[in-house]
């Protein structure tokens, strides 16, 4: 078994900033920090560091994402004078370095790096992954949107009706996030390359929080009932990618469970 860490897992696992001002102590975490951190902890506890892979592409992408997010944050705050800008610059310095320290820890102490032939990787991406993805996502949808007439009143009744309609549908349509960008396909190509190279090492999981890689939640949505309902997961595209290229995109939480069940 090998686990390729994808950018979203690496980045979210790096954001947990603890600070105190006077008596106030606070921890600011990314919403997926706990599950990403738990994955690295489980791998460390099972002494699996050599089976966890962080490629250069993923590390660079993660660092870029943190840097861009910090720029965006300063812009969002729109500092009105140089003192405010100074304060934000000091804050970004503290938060960014803390995140990069955690990221470096995962790269240096919780994982390994295997050689990637970038020419072969790019060839796999351009001639295999991209055309295949284009062919399988043609008829996919992001949400299920049942048509319920306006005359049906009452939120509870509408929700019940939606649930009945969705479960009664023989084919709900395949749920997928949409065509991924080149950077995601590059990581898919790296996973493919590693799977082919280490075919005898068992499953190769891609630990990701991005719905381009993992099973997509079935989200049911109606314009008249704006509350989104979630009805399980659709893993059809993920499974097609697994069957064709060998890597299994999965949520870090699920991979942590698999690791914990290992003897």
């Amino acid at each position: 078994m090998k686990i390729l860490i994808e950018t979203s897992t690496l980045v979210s696992g790096s954001i947990s900033w603890e600070y105190s001002v006077g008596k106030v102590k606070k921890i600011i975490e990314h919403k997926f920090y706990k599950k990403s951190y738990a994955l690295f902890c489980s791998c460390n506890n099972k002494k699996m560091q050599e089976k966890v892979i962080i490629t250069k592409t993923v590390e660079d992408e993660a660092k870029n994402a943190l840097n861009k997010a910090v720029d965006r944050t300063i812009r969002d705050r729109a500092p009105r004078d140089i003192i405010h800008k100074y304060n934000y610059m000091v804050l970004q310095h503290l938060i960014l370095n803390d995140s990069l320290d955690k990221l470096d820890y995962y790269v240096e102490e919780c994982s390994t790096r295997l050689p990637i032939n970038t020419t072969i990787r790019n060839k796999i991406r351009d001639s295999e992954i991209e055309p295949y993805l284009k062919s399988i996502i043609i008829n996919t949808i992001r949400f299920i949107h049942p048509q319920i007439s306006r005359v049906v009143k009452g939120k509870d009744f509408r929700i019940e009706l939606i649930q009945k309609m969705v479960t009664a549908l023989p084919e709900k349509g395949t749920i997928y996030k949409g065509m991924p960008e080149e950077r995601d396909m590059t990581i898919m190509a790296e996973a493919t390359l590693l799977k082919r190279k280490y075919a005898n090492d068992g499953e190769l999981y891609v630990a990701s929080l991005d719905n381009h890689f993992k099973p997509n939640p079935i989200q049911v949505y109606s314009y008249l009932s704006p509350d989104m309902m979630f009805m399980g997961l659709d893993s059809k595209i993920r499974d097609l990618l697994r069957d064709k290229f060998g890597f299994i995109g999965e949520d870090p939480q699920q991979i942590t469970q698999i690791i914990q069940e290992l003897k």
Binding site: Y19, M89, H93, N211, P217
Partner: protein
């Protein structure tokens, strides 16, 4: 030779003489004070440069914070070491930071003379390495004292950090991903 390069060379010579003599002469520590104060003033000069992109401003600013803090802490630690008559291990440790100071100093000098950064990615790497080394040797100020010095409310700090955590989602395209079905319904 630029101001920072010249002053870091002086620090290098001073520290080497401490190590050679096995004794720290506090009268020679003024150069660290000059660098620390200059780096603090230059942080504001950088923020006032409208020709710089935000990202380049950020990288230069962080480099200057690292210089300002580490030279300030270095000076007080060398003073303490001198008071207890320490064989100058603090001076030996400090010497380890000099190559990074010189690299970063060259970039900052270049920027102030030519108003451009030649390779901001490399400067970022040098600055990160300086931060890591200074942290390893305890040459950085703790987060709480830095935040106290800013004199801003904890709600502003929290809101900044939370915005950052949310903005990361835009960058890694997981903005609308749900945690899982159970978590979401809670």
């Amino acid at each position: 030779m630029g101001w920072y390069s010249e002053h870091f060379d002086r620090v290098d010579t001073t520290l080497k003489s401490f190590v050679q003599k096995g004794k720290i002469d506090t009268a020679q520590l003024e150069v660290l004070n000059e660098i620390s104060e200059r780096a603090k003033a230059d942080q504001f000069r950088i923020l006032n440069q409208s020709s710089l992109s935000l990202s380049d401003q950020r990288i230069l600013f962080s480099s200057l914070i690292n210089i300002n803090q580490s030279t300030d802490v270095m000076k007080s630690r060398l003073k303490n070491a001198s008071m207890i008559g320490e064989n100058p291990t603090t001076a030996e440790i400090s010497l380890d930071l000099i190559p990074l100071y010189q690299e970063i100093g060259n970039y900052i000098d270049d920027f102030f003379s030519k108003k451009e950064i030649f390779n901001s990615e490399k400067l970022f790497l040098f600055s990160r390495n300086l931060y890591k080394k200074a942290k390893k040797y305890n040459f950085l100020k703790d987060t709480s004292s830095q935040l106290r010095a800013l004199k801003i409310s904890s709600s502003i700090i929290t809101s900044f950090a939370e915005t950052f955590a949310n903005n990361v989602n835009h960058e890694i395209e997981i903005n609308d991903e749900v945690t899982n079905l159970n978590e979401d319904s809670n």
